[in-house]
């Protein structure tokens, strides 16, 4: 809301999808055919729709999840109840969902080898829950050309939510890889909430003003691809070349080859200039030709897990927690339970830096014992969750923090990144624009 009303913007990009989100949405849709998209999106649109229409702000979002069709309908409904009926259009991008086509695609020669491990998909094929190709900007551009005020997609490259509107607005040619590379950089800087504007920022974090009302990033892009990163006037946070650089290096591999469906961007070419007043100019972006393949995100069932915690107090808190861990492990072994993995961490000591934290001092005031287990079957994990609370009465003393009850058993959805030929996906992509 603040982003729409806090000052003039032309486009609002809203990213709703983490890597495993699609599998969760797939699960929801299997129970309810009308579900499977980001449920926050339509209520948000209901609030901002009139301001977007009167202010000429067009919204691009991947909130469609595994059911962009139902998401588009919900947005249309939200538009009607917010009073913009007859004044707005909603664009719907589909065709990223490969789940129904998976067997056909494999029969046609797609291998879907795991990009990280090289393993063949056959090893998990029966357990696949969702499979979606990351689409590029072309369908977003098409929807905008057709007059969509709101574009709803399923899985697409996060950065395409930002560089798609730029390609549309400036008419950047699909082979203009430097400009698209600049748009990719703008999208990457833009896509993680306030992480470019002072949120999660390690540079003098204690001095960053008013994070309670932090401004979200805005990119002001010129036709040549140079852009300024900023935030609305009067909002909290901070934009400097250092805060922007922290976001540029976030969740990347080779910075010279940041791969998207439309270009391979080179972040090492970027030059940042502080303009003052929370404005940073970004120039010099380079890009190279897009690849022949698209990335596919596959999620598959990989068993069950649970994490249990107990808090031990001074004196000798860490020693007590470690003793409790031994007792629990002996109990579980005695019960004949087998786990793929069992992990013990001491929160307040080594759960974030491991052995780099050194040995805990004897006068550590308190520590939380955190034990996680994972197994292919649900039963041993379930049993584990019933073995935590008894430790309070049967194990080492000065223990508390179990009031929350038994740990929750969670299904594990594992992530399987793969590639697919472009030609196997792009002819199936559809763009549909509907009146509110």
């Amino acid at each position: 809301m603040r982003q729409v009303e806090g000052g003039p913007i032309d486009y609002l990009a809203l990213d709703y999808l983490a890597e495993v989100t699609m599998s969760i949405m797939q699960k929801l849709r299997s129970r309810d055919p009308a579900a499977g998209y980001a449920r926050d999106f339509a209520p948000l649109m209901e609030r901002i729709f009139p301001a977007c229409i009167s202010g000429g702000v067009r919204v691009i979002s991947n909130a469609g999840g595994v059911n962009p069709d139902a998401a588009a309908d919900a947005v249309i409904e939200a538009g009607r109840s917010s009073g913009v009926a007859g004044q707005a259009k909603v664009g719907l991008v589909a065709g990223d969902d490969l789940m129904e086509r998976l067997d056909d695609l494999i029969a046609a020669g797609e291998r879907f080898e795991n990009m990280e491990t090289g393993e063949p998909l056959e090893s998990i094929l029966g357990r696949v829950q969702s499979a979606n190709a990351y689409l590029g900007a072309a369908p977003i551009v098409r929807a905008l050309e057709l007059g969509a005020d709101v574009v709803v997609t399923g899985r697409c490259a996060d950065a395409a939510l930002t560089y798609g509107p730029l390609m549309h607005e400036f008419g950047w040619h699909e082979d203009d890889f430097d400009r698209i590379g600049a748009g990719v950089a703008a999208g990457h800087i833009n896509e993680c909430g306030a992480q470019a504007t002072g949120g999660n920022c390690s540079i003098e974090w204690w001095d960053i003003p008013n994070l309670a009302d932090v401004g979200f990033p805005i990119v002001e892009v010129s036709e040549d691809g140079s852009f300024v990163v900023t935030k609305h006037l009067g909002t909290g946070g901070r934009v400097t070349s250092a805060t922007v650089t922290e976001q540029i290096v976030y969740e990347i591999g080779d910075p010279a080859a940041y791969i998207t469906p439309d270009a391979v961007a080179d972040f090492t070419s970027l030059e940042l200039t502080d303009l003052g007043d929370d404005r940073v100019r970004v120039t010099g972006a380079k890009g190279r030709s897009r690849t022949d393949s698209l990335k596919v995100s596959i999620a598959y069932s990989a068993g069950w897990k649970a994490v249990g915690t107990l808090t031990y107090a001074w004196p000798d808190a860490a020693a007590k927690a470690r003793a409790a861990d031994r007792i629990l492990r002996s109990r579980l072994e005695g019960l004949g339970l087998h786990f793929e993995e069992m992990r013990t961490e001491l929160v307040g000591w080594d759960s974030t830096h491991g052995h780099l934290a050194g040995e805990p001092p004897a006068d550590l005031p308190e520590v939380q014992l955190r034990i996680g287990v994972r197994a292919a079957e649900r039963a041993p994990v379930e049993r584990f969750t019933r073995e935590i609370a008894p430790l309070v009465l049967t194990g080492p003393p000065s223990v508390t923090g179990f009031a929350g009850g038994r740990p929750r058993v969670q299904e594990v959805m594992a992530y399987w990144p793969a590639l697919i030929r472009r030609e196997a996906v792009e002819p199936h992509v559809t763009v549909d624009v509907r009146e509110v």
Partner: protein, 132 residues
């Protein structure tokens, strides 16, 4: 010569790429970037993390941003929702790397020591409604 912790020379942000962690390290002062390039080698970072990182460490340079990016392979216990780690998304691997010691001149040590840490006596201030 003297040693300072990397936290006084650089800031950092980390995240996950599947079962790999990425740590981007940015020199506060561009003049100190060469210290990172020469001392913060892949081998040194691999040795620093030890058993935490199962696979190789790759390093990438971003000289125009006076930054290095490290990809720590096999650091997240399976990654995503598979991992049992508290920090399964590698959000604070950055600070684990900032513990590493870098050799600098006495002058640099004097200038930067404490740079990356909250000033002594700092408080978050009064809660809303209680201040001026």
């Amino acid at each position: 010569m003297a040693f300072v912790q990397l936290v006084d020379l650089a800031h950092a942000r980390s995240g996950d790429k599947g079962n790999n962690a990425n740590v981007g390290v940015i020199a506060y002062d561009p003049e100190h970037y060469h210290l990172l390039v020469s001392q913060l080698t892949s081998a040194r970072v691999k040795e620093h993390f030890g058993e935490i990182v199962k696979g190789p460490v790759e390093r990438f340079e971003l000289p125009k941003l006076h930054a290095l990016n490290f990809l720590l392979h096999g650091a997240l216990g399976g990654g995503g929702t598979v991992s049992l780690m508290n920090d399964a998304q590698a959000k604070v691997f950055s600070t684990a790397l900032l513990r590493i010691e870098i050799e600098v001149s006495d002058a640099v040590a004097a200038a930067v020591t404490g740079r990356g840490r909250v000033p002594a006596g700092w408080t978050p201030g009064e809660p809303p409604g209680k201040g001026e």
